[in-house]
Symmetry: none
Subunit: 262 residues, 2 copies
């Protein structure tokens, strides 16, 4: 059994480690496989002052003893991990989402280097919003469907012939750029009167509603093209970064024009 003084030491170490945690992007690992990589990712996050880690369908469930062991003291991150069934749920409360992938996709999404992509999250976070960064699992990375949830692709200049970054290394680079962006400019928010994009949940509702109307109207035709049509439409509308007010207006607008003419 742990001795009380030991527990106090741990508590004190955790308190100290979390003192320097600032609001930072949410790190979302999609279908991570190895607990060791989750732990190493948590450690790298805390190294750079980030702490919010979310998992989507971790292969070995959660909690994961190997993750705790590899985290090397980053229990403040591991203990507050939250687990989700879908990416949409994991980013429901986020206003801006980046997808880390080395591959070029047939998605109409801007590709940004890590520094610029992370810099773009600054104003969102400073104004009280949430930004998320998606990381794919060890085996396949992010699918096009996953990536279509994002506002932009975060890409790093890897060796094209040896491009598969270890999951924890990818997390480390993003956390590092976050820390860089913080120390370089603390006064991000000074002139950012522009309202933040709505939380993804709202955008997702709008898109689902639009799709429902389009389904009823027989728009997604022929059936074999429907998934691609949906994906492209989703990408366009998410990338638009509508504000909450704009989404409310568009919802009402779509409802109005879909009504039976009087």
């Amino acid at each position: 059994m742990t001795k009380p003084e030991h527990t106090n030491e741990i508590r004190e170490a955790r308190r100290r480690a979390s003192e320097h945690i600032k609001p930072s992007p949410v790190f979302v690992l999609v279908e991570p496989q190895m607990g060791e990589n989750i732990g190493a990712a948590a450690r790298a996050m805390l190294n750079f002052g980030a702490s919010c880690l979310r998992l989507v369908r971790p292969r070995d469930g959660w909690p994961n003893a190997k993750a705790g062991a590899t985290a090397s003291g980053a229990s403040v991150v591991i203990d507050s991990v939250t687990v989700f069934d879908t990416i949409d749920e994991a980013i429901a409360d986020c206003n801006f989402v980046l997808a880390t992938t080395a591959r070029q996709r047939e998605l109409a999404l801007p590709v940004m280097d890590a520094k610029s992509a992370i810099a773009a999250t600054g104003p969102i976070i400073m104004s009280g919003g949430r930004a998320a960064v998606l990381f794919g699992g060890e085996r396949n990375g992010l699918s096009s469907e996953d990536t279509a949830r994002a506002n932009a692709i975060l890409s790093v200049p890897v060796n094209p012939a040896f491009s598969s970054l270890n999951l924890a290394q990818a997390v480390c680079l993003v956390a590092y750029e976050w820390s860089n962006s913080q120390t370089l400019s603390m006064d991000f928010h000074a002139n950012s009167s522009f309202p933040a994009p709505a939380q993804k949940e709202l955008a997702t509702h709008l898109i689902e509603y639009f799709f429902e109307l389009l389904d009823r109207a027989g728009y997604f035709y022929p059936p074999e093209k429907a998934p691609l049509m949906r994906r492209n439409m989703r990408t366009a509308l998410l990338r638009a970064e509508f504000t909450a007010n704009e989404i409310t207006s568009l919802h009402g607008a779509l409802k109005a024009i879909s009504k039976k003419p009087v």
Copy 2:
């Protein structure tokens, strides 16, 4: 025994992986302990196109089977590792040396962020010289004696209360900054396949069509609020920067849902 065709495959994969290796800094691990970390470091180096790895007094000798296993295909790096008894020997042929350490030392050495430090190696390497980066072992990092061998300290903005970076993560960050410094002069952004926003004329047509449908549906009500409602809607849709293809799809989609239900 390995079959000949398998060997050929490996040889071909290695050839391809090394095709993209440019002259880069020499990575020097001083008294590394775990083979796994050496392997992960080799992988991270090759991810970013670096390949020259030197070890000073590795705890478990060399070669190290665990290093090979963790390198995940970066055998082009592992196989050309050279081992030295002292730092001085390891950097004997180098013109410029950086020491990675999070700690401030009582040494009269400039402290540079990773980006600036790596940028400083560029001219050395481009002119045919060698630059080295020193990394301390897992337990103690670099001693003051070790660090005194360097021209400058390379420092990254870590959480002061949780500052101990994993060895392979530190190598990854430096290799990443090296690759960044190289691609800045190349066309990393040029080949981004993201299509340009459509010409404003197309976006305007879409918006006018949308407004026409909304007018017919009686959406802009009450009349005194109509101008503001239109302006806000226009702003949202223009800011979205839809591509020409997306505008065509949205046009068709709006047409579909506004039709009289059959």
